[in-house]
Amino acid sequence: MNEIVRGIVAFLLWPGLISAVLLAWFYLWLGRKVTARLQGRQGPPFFQPFFDFVKLLGKKMIRPTGINMGLFLGLPLVSLISVLAALALIPAPGSTSISFPGDLIFLLYLLEMPALVDILVGYVSRSVYAQVGAVREALLSLGHNLPFIVAFIALAIQAKSSNLQTIVDMHFSLVQIFAAIALIIAIPARVKANPFSIPNAETEIVAGTHIEYNGPALAILELVHGLEIVALSGLLASLFSGMVTGVLPSLIVYLVVSILVVIFTSLLAASTARVKVQYALGFYWRWGALAAALAVVAAVM
């Protein structure tokens, strides 16, 4: 197999488009089901995220006046393609993805795209609620990016390389544990789950940046949200899947860790109220930064 074919397979099959979309729907369902059971509700049927997606695709798209169609539809597509590219780079077990020096940096940039697009979407929508949502998204990304990026810096220092495969393959140590803690602290804010559902708070700013979005454009944004969960939990899981040898055992570790991340996020969301953006920033700059700093110290030692 030459590199182009391997890249395409990674992008479209595993861990890219098809498998990631299926996993995204599964994780969205799992999160909603866990939350519902905790709240004494029945919860949605298994195929609900799929139904939601299909329903939104079938809707007529209403574009607010004064917004360029290219921007309105283009931004979600940019977001979708970036997150799919990021997924293709994740060193999931059995992945055929191309590995190159510095792909970690590329991955971090790609993962940042959905947040950037959300901010742009907020400003493009010409709604005051969306603009407040965009400001909040921008502020929140200052918070959660600190532990997220510093955790990867620590891993890169430990591996003496910015290649993802090298990082995953390295001997398991304290660095991975601290990095994993920093990542799991960052994940609820990155997927905008409670208590950090600040940019998409319904009761305050009417679901924030996506307020003017509807139909297929909203379907894509919702799908991106699911794919982000897959990418982030997968990234965290890939740190642990290096512990075992063989494709099948590491695949099981990969999926189990991902599912645990989803369940943890849902449990946290169900047991907390939404905090304010200042509080969230304070939290990330204090505790998130501490976990990340410990990872760096462990790596340097």
Binding site: T35, Y129, T203, V206, A270, A273, R274, V275, K276
Partner: protein, 359 residues
């Protein structure tokens, strides 16, 4: 340059239509304007076109949450004009209905407050226990919201079996003591959203004449059940709940403790309920010429009625002053200088009832 952001009249944080026009710089609120009147039904005017029996039903529709309070206050005003003494058992039944209504109103409020700070699980839990209170109300009166219990000169239905009510209110006490109050006062995320938010000083509370839990949370010692006891409150040794803090947390705690007090009042009223008739013999008493005021402590505060009669079957004038009407104008006071994220919670913390305000 401040920007303007509207909350309402249609907004997910408001269950009823009124409008807050906020001027903000960044996320800080600089000025607030309030608009009401989206649901004016002119009940005061309709009341002076109908007879007293029809009016009892009409004033129940002032508010879906505290319907019983309005019927009680109207009936009390008419009874004062006519000099009617209602039977003892009726006084106790009115008390029990009033307190059950307070429980379901406060639980509804706790649910909506949780929803406003994004605490879905607490919302579900509060509505779950509220449903059992609604069931009791339905068992007693046959209705879930507009109970039709109050008649001029007594009540329409008896409470046949205290055993139907007692276990459920005792269960509510357990939920409140073991879950709701600890979570509302100790959960770090809840505290970060409620402590020192939306403060109202005691001076401002008196100046703006706010009533009910909002006044009591600011340290103002007013409660109609204590000041001008009606129904059976003077027999039941009512204890007022106040707090000095004046923030959203204080309003939460005052309401939670008030629910415990309501549970106690219901238990005590059920235990001491005298036997006898539930209403006077005359089903349609004549109201002579005269005028009277009556005040009843609704879940949100003091509800005031003024009724004037010319001796015919139709009142000359019915004036309704609901608690929200006097509390809502104080919202700008609570909001200025606060964070935009806190607006839904601050306005919810006074438990505004727009249906009452517009009447």
């Amino acid at each position: 340059m401040p920007y303007r952001i509207p909350i309402g009249p249609y907004h997910p944080a408001l269950e009823e239509p009124y409008k807050l026009q906020l001027s903000c710089t960044g996320e800080t609120v600089q000025a607030v304007e309030i608009e009401v009147g989206f649901t004016l039904r002119a009940i005061e005017l309709l009341a002076q076109r109908r007879n007293y029996v029809q009016d009892i039903v009409l004033v129940e529709h002032v508010c879906g949450i505290c319907s019983n309070v309005h019927a009680t206050a109207f009936a009390m005003a008419a009874e004062k004009i006519a000099g009617i003494q209602i039977p003892d058992r009726a006084r106790y039944i009115r008390t029990i209905m009033g307190e059950l209504e307070r429980l379901h109103s406060h639980l509804l409020w706790a649910g909506i407050g949780s929803e406003d700070i994004g605490f879905r699980s607490m919302f579900m839990e509060m509505y779950y226990v509220r449903e059992s209170i609604m069931d009791i109300l339905e068992v007693i009166s046959g209705n879930r919201v507009n109970y039709g219990m109050i008649a001029i000169g007594g009540v329409n239905r008896d409470i046949p079996d205290p055993k139907l009510i007692l276990p459920k209110v005792q269960e509510l006490r357990k939920v409140l003591e073991n879950m709701a109050i600890p979570i509302f006062t100790r959960n770090a995320t809840v505290k970060s959203r409620t402590v020192k938010i939306g403060p109202l000083s005691k001076q401002d509370a008196i100046k703006y004449g706010v009533v009910g839990p909002m006044a009591r949370a600011s340290g103002v010692n007013i409660d109609i059940r204590q000041d001008l006891p009606y129904a059976a409150y003077q027999d039941l040794d009512f204890k007022i709940v106040t707090s000095e803090d004046g923030d959203v947390q204080a309003r939460l705690v005052v309401r939670a403790l008030e629910m415990l007090e309501s549970v106690r009042l219901i238990e005590s009223a059920l235990a001491n309920m005298p036997s006898g008739p539930i209403r006077i013999d005359d089903p349609f008493p004549t109201i002579p010429a005269g005028e009277a005021t009556s005040r009843v402590e609704a879940p949100r505060g003091e509800a005031f009625y003024y009724v004037a009669s010319d001796g015919s079957d139709t009142p000359l004038r019915v004036k309704i002053r609901t608690p929200s009407y006097i509390n809502i104008p104080a919202i700008p006071l609570l909001c200025v200088g606060q964070n935009l994220a806190d607006m839904p919670l601050i306005q919810a913390s006074i438990d505004p009832c727009v249906s009452c305000t517009d009447r």
